[in-house]
């Protein structure tokens, strides 16, 4: 059986007054049935735009998916009619976002917001949909769900709103859940509640999850496989244990060294990555990480490196053979 979702050479750009912003530059990856894939990267690396592109949610203008294919169940989501994508969106592929307040309609009771998609996609009548909505709220552990179904979003806390979002997303038993930084706005104890919840529900329902985040800790606990993005490109892809134990791209190595961590002896200094990500309008012609890289050689400037296999299921976009142990001593100091 092939992968559930296959992204091929996806390219998304924003056409602004200042120029073309190359947000996503030809990314390709696969998602298998039931697996959790993590996509990590820093602000502006294209991780969210890449995910929004999957469901054709890029605001246009100024955004446009300029190339690639997104194969889901044998069909190319980029080629089908808008009405077809509407049948898939929220039904077979659902999405939750970072900010649960702006993603919920403040003027509509939350029960109504959930039952709406049940009536639309699953053709339930009002009564059935309402009963199902209560059931869903119970599933995401909203206390006394039956009493709270007519409450408005403002009557819920941030963590509870995110639960409501998850209930909505799961209402149609999706095959894929795309979670775009769903815990970033939440406190750490609430984040623990939400990640625990998503993990349990994933096992119950058997859906695949794409978890997008900048937090290397969250990814470590939740995912099976991880993609690291930098400047709109995939720079590394590996099974989760492999990525943390044996990172093979200079950016991943730097990123892991930058995080202060609770599980290890405190280092005197953090290994920071000097400099800043490149300008996405005036995009570099060579490797986008060149300016900040400690392993760079002249050949890196020739063309952006392609992903190449460096181990089983492990790919890195770097022409230099690097690993954390070959880190130049100047970087560690």
């Amino acid at each position: 059986m092939g992968p559930l979702l296959e992204v091929k050479n996806l390219e998304t750009q924003f056409f602004t007054k200042e120029g073309i912003v190359r947000a996503v530059n030809s990314i390709s990856y696969e998602l298998n049935t039931g697996e959790t894939l993590g996509i990590v990267g820093e602000s502006g690396c294209g991780k969210s735009v890449g995910a929004l592109s999957l469901l054709r949610l890029i605001p246009s203008p100024p955004g446009k998916i300029v190339g690639g294919e997104i194969l889901f169940d044998g069909i190319d989501l980029l080629k089908v009619h808008e009405s077809e994508i509407e049948r898939i969106r929220g039904n077979r592929i659902a999405m939750i976002f970072q900010d649960p307040m702006t993603s919920l309609n403040p003027m509509m009771p939350i029960g109504r917001q959930i039952s709406e998609s049940l009536e639309l996609h699953l053709k339930m009548n009002k009564k059935e949909a309402r009963a199902k909505a209560i059931e869903l709220l119970e599933m995401v552990r909203i206390p006394s769900a039956a009493d709270r179904i007519d409450d408005y979003p403002i009557q819920f806390s941030g963590g509870m709103r995110q639960r409501v979002m998850i209930a909505m997303a799961l209402s149609c038993n999706p095959q894929i859940l795309i979670a775009d930084e769903p815990t970033t706005a939440l406190d750490v104890t609430i984040q623990a509640q939400i990640t625990d919840l998503v993990n349990r529900l994933r096992e119950e329902i058997g859906m695949a999850v794409i978890w997008i985040t900048h937090d290397l800790g969250v990814v470590a606990g939740l995912t099976d496989r991880v993609i690291v993005m930098y400047a709109g490109r995939i720079v590394e892809e590996a099974p989760v244990e492999e990525l943390y134990e044996n990172p093979r791209h200079p950016y991943t190595i730097g990123l892991l060294g930058s995080v202060p961590r609770l599980d290890e002896e405190r280092p005197e200094q953090l290994t920071s990555i000097e400099g800043m990500p490149p300008d996405m309008i005036d995009y570099p012609s060579g490797c986008p990480f060149y300016a900040r890289c400690t392993f760079r050689i002249d050949r890196c400037l020739e063309s952006p490196p392609d992903l190449r296999a460096v181990g089983p299921g492990h790919k890195a976009a770097c022409i230099v053979d690097v690993s954390a142990s070959t880190l130049p001593s100047s970087v560690i100091s």
């Binding site: 820093e42 602000s43 806390s157 963590g159 509870m160 406190d187 750490v188 104890t189 609430i190 984040q191 623990a192 509640q193 990640t195 625990d196 993990n199 900048h214 937090d215 290397l216 800790g217 969250v218 990814v219 470590a220 606990g221 989760v240 244990e241 943390y244 730097g254 990123l255 892991l256 060294g257 930058s258 995080v259 202060p260 961590r261 609770l262 599980d263 405190r266 200094q269 953090l270 290994t271 920071s272 990555i273 000097e274 800043m276």
Partner: protein, 343 residues
């Protein structure tokens, strides 16, 4: 205990906060506003900061950590309590004496986009404190600002640029340069790296540590990220719903936390190690529910509504946490905790 990094050999108390309270009144009615209650943002907080150390102050949103920092630099007027800075009582200072003391205490904010005036050039932003405090002549000003930019790792030729020409990390550096301009003794950081990406965050943390040892600065470092606080602090205070739950040196807080809240908080932090993190995931203490509202905090211990140790306290100590408030006291020398388990 390990040697202090920052030459803090004296144990001299630089800042002493005693029973600090900041309450915000809730008023109802437009024409005849009535005082109907208070949001008890900070409700009786006491701690000392020693010269040369970094005291970390952690807690979740709304726990009052930022308000505590703002009250220390008098951006909020405390409702009660004292803040003593080298023997000077800060809460009642006014006019010229407040201005003079403030030179020695600076604050750095979370949002590097909102804390710099977009219409001013870098030279005006960083040089303004020098002008306000009549420290510099025009000629010397330019040189001083260039030197400050150099210290924080920015190109000194950027002095005529505007904030929008800089990235988030660079703006935070400008804010740091501005804070350093008056050669302060003490800096309050309010979530200085929370808005930054991890690779940039590491640059700023390293910079802050270098500046501290170079200029013998004392820091109060307010943040919600427990790993960042562990990295930068000598001692750490944990705050919950306007009160301190625990305060001790870094090693003890992270290795042997006493307060059930600190324990839950530490267990909730995901760590970047897949194998260990899956183990932690299974054993994680998941706190039920949300933080109660500070306008109506629970009776007794303010953590009792979510505390996993509540029944244990009842069984072992015969104390009802929802009735009796625990005292913030030393469970062992240098380790303060507010929990009946250690009564």
């Amino acid at each position: 205990m390990e040697a202090k990094r920052n030459g803090n050999d004296t144990d001299e108390v630089l800042l002493s906060v005693n029973n600090l309270k900041v309450h915000f009144p809730i008023n109802r009615g437009i024409i005849f506003p009535r005082h109907v209650g208070d949001i008890k943002a900070v409700d009786g907080v006491s701690f000392d900061v020693k010269r040369g150390e970094t005291l970390g102050l952690v807690g979740e949103s709304g726990c009052g950590k930022s308000t505590t920092g703002r009250a220390i630099v008098r951006l909020e007027q405390p409702t009660a309590g004292t803040v003593e800075f080298q023997g000077i009582e800060m809460t009642t200072l006014e006019g010229e004496s407040l201005r003079k003391t403030r030179r020695r205490i600076q604050m750095i904010f979370q949002d590097p986009y909102a804390s710099l005036n977009p219409r001013l050039r870098v030279i005006d932003i960083v040089g303004d404190p020098l002008k306000v405090h009549n420290i510099s002549s025009d000629k010397a000003l330019t040189n001083q600002v260039r030197e400050l930019l150099n210290i924080v790792g920015l190109n000194p030729n950027f002095i005529t640029r505007y904030p929008h020409e800089f990235s988030g990390g660079q703006r935070q550096r400008i804010g740091i340069a501005r804070a350093l301009a008056l050669r302060p003794d003490f800096i309050v950081f309010d979530e200085p790296v929370s808005a930054l990406d991890v690779s940039i965050q590491a640059q700023i943390i390293n910079l802050l540590e270098n500046l501290q040892s170079e200029f013998r600065l004392t820091y109060l470092f307010i943040a919600h990220d427990l790993a960042v606080v562990r990295h930068i602090s000598d001692r750490v205070a944990v705050m919950y719903l306007g009160k301190l739950a625990e305060l001790t040196d870094r090693e003890r807080l992270y290795k042997t936390p006493l307060h059930p809240y600190t324990q839950a908080l530490l267990s909730a932090v995901p760590i970047p190690n897949p194998i260990a993190e899956r183990e932690r995931f299974k054993n994680r203490v998941i706190l039920e529910g949300d933080v109660p509202s500070p306008d109506n905090p629970p009776k007794g211990c303010n953590f009792c509504t979510r505390c996993p140790a509540k029944t244990r306290v009842m069984n072992e100590k015969q104390i009802d946490c929802s009735q009796v408030e625990p005292e913030f006291r030393q469970a062992e020398p240098g380790h303060w905790v507010a929990c009946h388990l250690y009564d």
